[in-house]
């Protein structure tokens, strides 16, 4: 019998780095990490809220909370303010994102970076800048207006010390969340879907309204959610603007609970309703998105279409300029002015620069610490957010959605309260992180987790799971797929998240202030301390320094040939 020799078919089995499926271990690792980051401080807060000084269980804090209108009213005001901020952020950011992502507006890349970088302004510094600009009497805008129109002294064109003023001043520093999310989402809407509308007779506007924007709805909602919750838990701006305006928001109220005699229990209890609001908002978002699909980057790829603005270009530019002027140019001009002048004294001076760079001993260390923490938090935080968002979006393990809840939870806790929780959690004799940079790293990871997670999770809405499946069936593990396929496809979002976490870290204040010590000083903290001693000039110099540094970092991050380089359908 003849022997048939088949051509040797060497089986090319995929080489897996590990023989076990990593999904479960990674899931549990993430649960552990998030539990440490989030649950530990939260548990301490719950403990504080529920246990009185003698160690007995009590509901006194909650009854005090509910029973006192001085606590209830700030809460209502804060919710109103936050919703206002959310709406205003969307109203500014969505058109801007569209202009930058989907039109032929010149200088789009630059505008993008500028917006991200503008975000570096610590909100309280922004509020200060807006005081300089729009305080009713001394505000530069009002002064100029009076000079131009001859209006009476004490007449004001704009007054930042009002509810609307506050909403505006906060929105200036939260709209980048929405902007970046929406711009990245728009990058991923393929032209096909818009073409299909156009050919059926949908005008540009109709197509935008009925097809393009609904497709980035997850991004808009995620951005709005973050903006609303940030506003709700923000302390700096309301502390500066709400008080002169004559009302409290919940955070300023909570802050005053920390004053002598401190009532941490009540403060902890007061932040729990914010957690409830967060859960409600998350639920609302899930409900709006519903069963609808948003996965637009399928396998049959098309590229996003660029709309020619034509005669609308000047108008578009005017809008962009207005937004940039209000959020970046004017505030920083104000800061520049106060960096170069002395309060109430005419003439220019470099005194503040000299003071900050050469005389003030803390600057160098603080700058170094800030950068170290910024880089490490951004890198770790982005990786963590990517993993968590992946888990939640693809549900490889039952119970994965829990991770999303965990990752979102910190957003509800005002920074200052969180700071206390973190301090309690990490200054245990057995776990003494206080006084090291580690506790700050942990704090920043916790604080930045929600925003990072929302960014990544919205981005996942745009990636069709089949693109990942195609990789896995060829033998790539989940993590390899995440690294080789998903992350590069999400490149803009990953970079944006990195920048956001970086910047968030740089500008974070409220929790940080409780956790820094002499050796772990940060720029934001020294800015705050300088503010207490009234050194506006030095503050402005530091603010400008932060702006320059983060702008440089953002610019570099956007150009790194990381993650497969800039060549992507999404990016041109």
């Amino acid at each position: 019998m003849p022997v048939v020799v088949r051509e040797a078919a060497v089986p090319l089995a995929p080489r897996l780095p590990l023989r076990i499926d990593l999904a479960k271990p990674v899931f549990w690792a993430l649960v552990a990490v998030l539990a440490v980051l989030v649950l530990l401080p939260l548990a301490w807060l719950a403990y504080y809220a529920l246990v009185d000084q003698d160690g007995r269980l009590t509901l006194a804090n909650f009854t005090a909370l509910v029973g006192d209108v001085r606590m209830r009213k700030p809460f209502v005001v804060a919710v109103g303010m936050a919703l206002g901020v959310g709406a205003l952020s969307c109203a500014i950011a969505t058109p801007l994102a569209w202009l930058v992502a989907r039109t032929d507006l010149p200088g789009r890349r630059f505008i993008r970076m500028l917006v991200t970088a503008s975000f570096v302004t610590p909100p309280f510094l922004g509020a200060i800048a807006w005081e300089i600009l729009a305080a009713p009497n001394s505000g530069l805008i009002n002064v100029a207006w009076r000079a131009l129109t001859g209006a009476q002294p004490y007449d004001a064109l704009v007054d930042i010390y009002t509810f609307t003023g506050l909403v505006f001043a906060i929105a200036c520093y939260t709209f980048p969340y929405v902007f970046t999310l929406v711009a990245n989402g728009l990058d991923r809407v393929p032209a096909d879907l818009e073409d299909a509308s156009a050919i059926l007779g949908g005008r540009g506007w109709t197509t935008l309204r009925r097809v393009t924007l609904p497709l980035v709805l997850p991004a808009i909602l995620a951005g709005a959610l973050i903006a609303i919750l940030q506003a709700l838990t923000m302390f700096g701006s309301p502390a500066i603007l709400a008080l002169p305006a004559g009302f409290h928001v919940i955070t300023t109220k909570i802050w005053s609970l920390f004053q002598y005699p401190p009532k941490p229990g009540l403060a902890a209890a007061a932040s729990l309703p914010l957690l409830a609001v967060t859960v409600l908002l998350l639920q609302g978002k899930a409900w709006i998105l519903g069963r609808k699909g948003y996965t637009v980057l399928g396998g049959k790829s098309g590229e996003p279409r660029i709309t020619a603005l034509g005669p609308w270009k000047p108008l578009a530019w005017a809008f962009v300029l207005l937004v940039l002027a209000l959020t970046v140019l004017l505030p920083y001009a104000a800061l520049l002015k106060s960096a170069l002048t002395r309060n109430g004294v005419p003439g220019l001076t470099l005194h503040h620069f000299r003071f900050v760079f050469f005389e003030f001993s803390a600057t160098r260390l603080a700058m170094w610490n800030t950068l170290v923490l910024g880089f490490s938090t951004a890198t770790l935080g982005t990786a963590l957010a990517l993993l968590v968002a992946y888990m939640v979006a693809r549900k490889p393990v039952r119970g994965a959605p829990v991770l999303g809840m965990l990752a979102m939870a910190p957003v509800a806790i005002p920074g200052i309260v969180l700071g206390v929780g973190l301090f309690l959690a990490y200054s245990h004799p057995h776990l003494m992180l206080y006084g090291t940079l580690w506790i700050l790293l942990v704090a920043f990871l916790t604080i930045e987790m929600p925003a990072g997670y929302q960014q990544m999770s919205a981005a996942f809405h745009g990636i069709h799971p089949e693109l990942e499946e195609a990789s896995r069936v060829l033998g790539a593990s989940r993590l390899q797929t995440l690294r080789l396929i998903t992350a590069p496809l999400l490149r803009t979002s990953v970079i944006a998240t990195w920048c956001f976490v970086f910047i968030g870290t740089i500008r974070e204040l409220s929790a940080t202030i409780l956790l820094t010590t002499a050796n772990t000083k940060l720029v934001s903290v020294i800015i705050y301390d300088l503010n207490e001693s009234g050194d506006m000039g030095a503050i402005s110099v530091l603010g400008l320094l932060l702006l320059v540094v983060s702008f440089a970092v953002v610019a570099i991050a956007n150009r790194l040939p990381l993650l497969g380089g800039p060549r992507l359908p999404a990016l041109r």
């Binding site: 001085r70 005081e131 300089i132 305080a135 009713p136 009497n137 001394s138 505000g139 004490y154 010390y161 502390a239 500066i240 709400a242 008080l243 002169p244 004559g246 009302f247 409290h248 802050w255 005053s256 920390f258 004053q259 002598y260 005699p261 401190p262 002395r342 309060n343 109430g344 004294v345 003030f360 001993s361 206390v420 301090f423 309690l424 200054s427 245990h428 004799p429 003494m432 206080y434 006084g435 202030i513 409780l514 010590t517 002499a518 301390d529 300088l530 207490e532 001693s533 009234g534 050194d535 506006m536």
Partner: protein
């Protein structure tokens, strides 16, 4: 009972130099605190002063946190809110020590009978106005003047919920002239700011022409840098705010702490506080800068921190001012 006063001895200096550093939690203005630290380091080489400068409430909170968690970082603590030391003392966190200068010069009411702390500095909460916006003759002269309708919408003041200075001041004024004053001031459309450092800055910026309360030393510092601003000492009295200092019981550098604590009350340190920081001192040998009204010519309103009912003050304040 207070321990015996102590002086600087070569042994103390040697022991302190062995420890090599002292950690000072301070609420004094950075520039002042840093200068003081440099002066100490110059005088006692080999001992580094680590200045942990923060707001008074922050420091209070930190000490609470740290001692609550058995973390002992601080050697010497100093805040501008006298209430804090009542609390520290009650907790038993302070180490009794009486520098010789304190024993010699300090009036009884400005030091702890048990020698646990003493008034390191003091400042006033004053009325002030912008001399460019308000001519001297039209300026308010007293607390009562502030209630004149012509100041409606033109006054700035700080908030007792955010500032220990203002808390103390509010207590003192309410005891001196009654709550009625605040009730009426509340109708003057007052601009509220947080910290007692801010009203002078608002005056300087021209945002409001008159301030109802705020730090005197900020007024001094601004005026000396050329800002047209002038303090007013009301005939009803001006609240005095005392800032205490103390050595902490579990100080990691006990000798350096004693040495530094002693230095803080010395004439040269107190003079520096006055010159650079515009602070008031209880050291009789300290000379006020020219142009400053000496303490002896001002009617002071003292307050008793032990009797302070912050809750009540905040509640009434919110009632009258809305926040």
């Amino acid at each position: 009972q207070a321990p015996a006063p102590y002086d600087v001895t070569p042994q103390l200096v040697a022991a302190a130099q062995k420890e090599g550093k002292v950690v000072w939690y301070s609420a004094t203005d950075v520039q002042v605190a840093e200068k003081l630290a440099r002066a100490f380091e110059a005088k006692y080489p080999g001992i580094k002063v680590q200045v942990e400068r923060s707001g008074a409430e922050r420091i209070f909170q930190r000490i609470n946190q740290e001692y609550g968690s058995r973390i002992y970082n601080a050697d010497v603590v100093e805040t501008s809110d006298a209430v804090h030391f009542v609390h520290f003392k009650k907790q038993g966190w302070l180490q009794p020590a009486v520098p010789s200068d304190v024993a010699k010069f300090w009036p009884r009411e400005y030091r702890d009978p048990d020698g646990q702390f003493a008034a390191y500095r003091a400042h006033l909460s004053v009325i002030a106005y912008n001399t460019k916006l308000v001519p001297k003759d039209q300026a308010p002269k007293s607390l009562a003047d502030l209630l004149d309708p012509r100041w409606s919408g033109k006054i700035v003041k700080a908030h007792p919920g955010y500032s220990g200075t203002i808390m103390t001041g509010t207590q003192a004024i309410s005891q001196a002239v009654g709550w009625k004053f605040f009730e009426q001031l509340g109708k003057q459309k007052v601009m509220q700011v947080q910290s007692s450092t801010e009203p002078p800055k608002k005056l300087a910026a021209g945002e409001r022409p008159v301030m109802a309360d705020g730090n005197e030393y900020n007024v001094f510092l601004l005026r000396e840098s050329g800002v047209p601003i002038e303090p007013v000492y009301a005939p009803e009295g001006t609240p005095l705010v005392v800032g205490n200092a103390a050595i902490l019981k579990n100080a990691p550098d006990p000798n350096a702490a004693r040495l530094f604590y002693h230095f803080m009350f010395s004439r040269e340190a107190q003079q520096l506080n006055s010159d650079v920081g515009g602070l008031r001192s209880f050291h009789p040998e300290v000379k006020e800068k020219a142009g400053r009204v000496p303490l002896s010519q001002i009617k002071l309103l003292n307050s008793d921190p032990a009797k302070l009912d912050a809750e009540d003050i905040k509640k009434r304040y919110e009632e009258y001012f809305g926040t």
